[in-house]
């Protein structure tokens, strides 16, 4: 949230946003499952200008053995930005922001994964942001959840994610970079849609209670739309396999 340039309007008189969307409209989202050979599961998500790749390795042996849990797998998540993914080149390696995001993404995915099935192993999730334009963490969760499914990891539900925020005083869905920079708040949310369980919830900004809850509800709606796209992407992958096996 930075100081907004004088006179910049994020929503015009007709209710359109700078990129032409309406207040409750998602950016264009493309998903593809199974994009990497080396990984046990993988997915690629384009979400507006965000380009995110996720890979899953595991369940596999844990190297420093004292990290093993006798009764379940451990989930590890690494969210990373490519140096060229942002306007100003980012120095390689984790910064404090990506350490925090990796941690909350792990907390968002953990409730969905049935870790008890694979004691003493790790399931490692790697999220690479190849291009960033606000909302990378929800896009990353969405991609990681697909990659987990692609890897055949048993899950209670897919995790779908989306953000809402406040721009020009109004609650709006799925902020892009400019909106995030000059808006008043951002509320990323992840859910397991079957039971409406919220597994990620953050807020960065300044909101009344009412605005906050409105944003959460809107983000949940967005996440449900994302969920449908996730299911389609998995179905496509499934059909492709069936086709290949049929050949």
């Amino acid at each position: 949230m930075m100081g907004k340039p004088e006179g910049l309007k994020l929503i015009d008189e007709n209710g359109y946003r700078l990129d032409g969307r309406k207040k409750y409209e998602l950016r264009k989202i493309k998903m593809e499952v199974g994009v990497l050979k080396s990984a046990d599961g993988s997915a690629y998500v384009e979400w507006g200008k965000n380009k995110i790749m996720a890979a899953v390795y595991g369940p596999r042996e844990i190297h420093p053995k004292h990290l093993q849990k006798p009764d379940r797998a451990i989930l590890r998540v690494r969210y990373n930005m490519a140096p060229f993914s942002v306007e100003e080149r980012k120095k390689p390696g984790p910064d404090r922001r990506s350490v925090e995001i990796s941690k909350v993404i792990r907390g968002a995915l953990e409730p969905a994964v049935i870790l008890e099935l694979f004691p003493r192993t790790s399931i490692d999730i790697f999220i690479e942001v190849l291009q960033a334009d606000a909302g990378t963490r929800v896009a990353g969760i969405t991609a990681a959840s697909l990659a987990l499914a692609d890897a055949g990891i048993p899950m209670k539900d897919l995790v779908a994610a989306c953000a809402a925020g406040k721009i020009d005083g109004e609650i709006a869905l799925d902020l892009n970079k400019e909106e995030d920079n000059y808006g008043e708040a951002d509320v990323p949310v992840a859910i397991m849609p079957i039971k409406n369980d919220i597994t990620l919830l953050q807020m960065d900004g300044y909101l009344t209670k009412e605005e906050f809850l409105e944003a959460v509800k809107l983000a949940i709606k967005g996440a449900k739309a994302v969920y449908q796209k996730q299911r389609e992407a998995l179905r496509e992958k499934y059909l492709k396999i069936v086709e290949e096996v049929g050949e």
């Binding site: 949230m1 930075m2 100081g3 006798p70 009764d71 404090r96 922001r97 350490v99 925090e100 990796s102 941690k103 909350v104 792990r106 907390g107 953990e110 409730p111 708040a185 509320v187 397991m192 409406n196 369980d197 919220i198 597994t199 990620l200 919830l201 953050q202 807020m203 960065d204 900004g205 300044y206 909101l207 009344t208 209670k209 906050f212 809850l213 959460v216 509800k217 949940i220």
Partner: protein, 265 residues
């Protein structure tokens, strides 16, 4: 260890069925809280927070430095948290781990997004010279809920901060520190309130044992104007929408009570 943890979990859950907690508190009770300021004379501000057996020391140092290039008219605040191994067998020596980094960032957001400090008043020469405020949280004893204790300590320490007035001579381009002192421009009092979810129950201000067995937790930082300036769901577990609404309401209430305990308010 794992067995002890599972026995402890059973015990805590059993008690919670009757709305009881392991240390006898009600579900909506904080532990006893004391906040003492000006405990470190060499720091420009400081606060020692005791929340039950959790102890946090916050020191504020204020330097002169350059503003960020994209924010030439704002002073700089930076929040750092040290989980020194003196405070817990679960802490290791070394640079801040993910727990300390998350904690620092949530405390920082609560202060920054509420504009608790008027950063524009920290500018001496726009684009060139501003005050840089270091908020250093030093954990002394970890008995749970470090985040609330740190957030309370940070704002209390900021409120206690006194800095020498400065005079800038435009001709010589020199800065003179005066003998006279002034307060930091603290305009809002954001307070984080954390609830843990344990087997479907929500308890405020979780202690160390409760944190060991909880599924997840959520922190809501609110200020005295009725605004929320930070929310963070942390660890695993999940929350229902109604739970979020409940947690938010309770956060306002508890924050008001806590604000009473901060010296000088």
């Amino acid at each position: 260890m794992e067995i002890m943890a599972s026995i402890m979990k059973d015990h805590i859950l059993q008690l919670l069925k009757e709305d009881k907690r392991i240390d006898g508190r009600g579900l909506e009770d904080f532990r006893p809280l004391t906040v003492e300021t000006n405990v470190i004379e060499k720091a420009e501000g400081s606060a020692l927070v005791k929340l039950g057996d959790t102890q946090i020391l916050v020191g504020i140092k204020v330097d002169l430095g350059e503003p960020f290039p994209d924010l030439p008219n704002m002073g700089v605040i930076t929040t750092n948290v040290e989980f020194v191994p003196l405070a817990s067998p679960t802490f290791e020596p070394g640079p801040p781990d993910e727990r300390a980094i998350e904690l620092a960032r949530v405390v920082d957001r609560g202060i920054r997004e509420s504009q608790a400090i008027d950063l524009e008043k920290l500018v001496i020469v726009p684009g060139k010279l501003v005050r840089v405020v270091f908020i250093d949280v030093h954990v002394l004893d970890h008995d749970g809920n470090l985040l609330d204790a740190s957030g309370i300590g940070a704002i209390a320490a900021l409120l206690s901060t006194r800095i020498p007035k400065v005079e800038y001579n435009e001709e010589t381009e020199e800065v003179v520190m005066l003998e006279e002192y002034e307060k930091l421009p603290v305009t809002r009092i954001p307070i984080p309130v954390t609830l843990a979810k344990i087997g479907g129950n929500l308890v405020v201000d979780p202690n160390f044992e409760e944190e060991q067995v909880m599924d997840g937790k959520i922190t809501i930082t609110t200020d005295e104007n009725g605004y929320i300036s930070a929310v963070q769901k942390s660890e695993g577990g999940s929350f229902k929408l109604e739970e979020i609404a409940y947690v938010t309401d309770l956060a306002y209430k508890k924050a008001s009570e806590i604000r009473e305990k901060i010296p000088g308010l």
